[in-house]
Amino acid sequence: MTEAILSTVDLTRRFGGLVAVSKVSVDLRVGEVHAVIGPNGAGKTTLTNLLSGDLAPTSGEIRYAGADLAGLPSHRISRMGIGRSYQKTNIFLPFSVFENCRLAAQSRTPHAWRAFSRAPGFRDINRQAEAAMEAAGLARRRDRVAATLSHGEQRQLEIAMCLATSPRVLLLDEPLAGMGPHESQRMVELIKQLSEGHAIMLIEHDMDAVFAVAHRLTVMVNGEVIESGTPAEVRNSPAVQLAYLGGEDNLHG
């Protein structure tokens, strides 16, 4: 087994009296999709926000490439190679698909601070943006204004922007939310492809999709991890059956 690129140790976040994430330890490995599942309010999105720097943890560590990321601002974490997509589509609506990706790619370059060189002239940035659009299957929509894309395409754009920052870790927060079956299928294929060069944390409610792509699963309930392991282990875990699935429901969906 390869070594974990990102791992949390007893990561905890409190909001006043509420413990949204309680002593969570997860490992992410390159080449692996690690799905985090659990009922609404289990603390999955909070966990993502802690990893991406949108929130600072109350206690615990986030180990990544020899450093502790806990409490760093989101832009620093992003620059260290951790990209995320959002549950609620979070893109630049008035810009074209290409410009969305170009901005994302631009964030990686030292050119960003050159106030006097024309932005569209940087070939490496443009190439990176094109590649991200290609990878996310949006090349045909290059010049469309993001606001006019379909919901599914906007979700794809979320991922494309994430990719344009050339991350090693991808945090995908419900990438299938609100998608039709056809669009979902495409997204699942995309995640499968991406898992090859990336460490992926996937938060998702669609169990079909989860079991189609995940190499490893963590189940959260009320902020705590109740089970973690391979899909087969989780499927057969009595704790999971009881707490999350209400006994009879099956994980095949």
Binding site: S78, R79, Y86, S107, T109, A115, F122
Partner: protein
């Protein structure tokens, strides 16, 4: 899009040519008036960088305008003229420094807080000059000698002369426009617009948004300082009124009236605003009510806020688009 851009450039070049020719035909009064308008246009364009492109609604922009004026007044010796070569950069640097310090504070806030805090800091500066001796109190300071502009021993321009000053302002106006356009076309400028549209996502993508906003704030402050310096040269004195919040309100009005986020729009706005002032305070037309010209300005501002959110340039663009569409139908 490209046709639109070329059309715009052609119009702008024509406008600059017309401005360059104006002193040849215009009277003293109008040459002075247009000089004042061009100075206000620089002021308004500098604010557009914040309001129109970075999404920062500053209601304290007069702070920079006034600070530069006071900087000049304090730098000029009483009985001789100072050199423009160092007083202008020094005044702008003072504004940049003030922007850096206050920006680091005000940019910790956002939205409505930002509006209030920028206003409050401008007011603080107002009191600095109003309440202290070195600022000359509420009377202000006279600038008896206009700065000179020499290369070696030869005078390039004599700023006491109306038309010399006019051309200096025109050159600076064009330069500021070009510099801002260049900045906005750069990766840095694109990042600013990204911050205006969705700051949260920009941070998630790895942009240190705070530093970008601070840089924009400093650039904007320095350019506003240039306009304040020129205004102080033109009028020959400074007093606390140039920092008052009415000045900040006026320049914000120019930006909206002309159309924010276009650069040339705020310049049009400055023109329209100053012309309206002249019109409403015209005694020949409005008689005893001319002294209440602010009433008409107030009503105009309210109407613009309600019915012309994209400003005059938005109106022109709409008209242009309709015409384009009509022509397309004919083809």
């Amino acid at each position: 899009m490209h046709a639109h851009g070329r059309m715009l450039n052609a119009i702008l070049i024509a406008a600059v040519v017309a401005l360059a020719a104006f002193p040849l035909a215009g009277s003293t009064f109008y040459t002075q008036l247009i000089t004042k308008i061009m100075i206000m246009a620089i002021f308004a364009m500098s604010l557009d960088l914040l309001v129109g492109y970075t999404g920062l609604v500053s209601f304290g922009h007069a702070a920079f305008f006034g600070l530069a004026g006071y900087a000049l007044a304090l730098m000029v010796p009483k009985y001789e003229a100072a050199s423009l070569w160092w007083t202008l950069p020094a005044a702008m640097a003072a504004c940049a420094a003030f922007a850096l310090v206050t920006g680091a504070l005000v940019l910790r806030t956002r939205g409505i807080f930002f509006i209030m805090v920028t206003l409050a800091f401008a007011q603080m500066l107002f009191f600095v000059f109003h309440d202290t001796k070195f600022g000359g109190g509420s009377d202000g300071i006279y600038i008896y000698n206009k700065p000179h502009l020499k290369l070696g021993e030869t005078a390039l321009l004599d700023l006491e002369k109306l038309d010399h000053f006019y051309y200096l302002v025109l050159v600076l106006l064009v330069a500021v426009y070009l510099v801002l356009r260049r900045i906005l076309g750069s990766t840095f400028g694109h990042a600013l617009v990204g911050i205006k549209v969705n700051e949260h996502r920009m941070r998630a993508l790895g942009f240190p948004a705070f530093r970008y906003k601070l840089a924009a704030y400093v650039i904007s402050g320095a350019l506003a300082g240039m306009s304040g310096y020129l205004a102080a040269v033109q009028f020959g004195f400074v007093n606390p009124e140039i920092i008052s919040w009415h000045q900040s309100g006026a320049v914000l009005m120019m930006v909206i009236l002309g159309g924010m986020g276009t650069l040339y729009g705020p310049a049009i706005g400055a023109f329209a605003f100053v012309m309206m002032q002249e019109l409403f305070s015209n005694q020949a037309w409005f008689g005893a009510y001319a002294k209440h010209w602010q009433l008409a300005m107030g009503v105009t501002i309210i109407l613009v806020a309600l019915y012309l959110p994209q400003g005059l340039s938005g109106l022109l663009q709409k008209f242009g688009r309709r015409k384009e569409a009509a022509e397309a139908e004919h083809d």
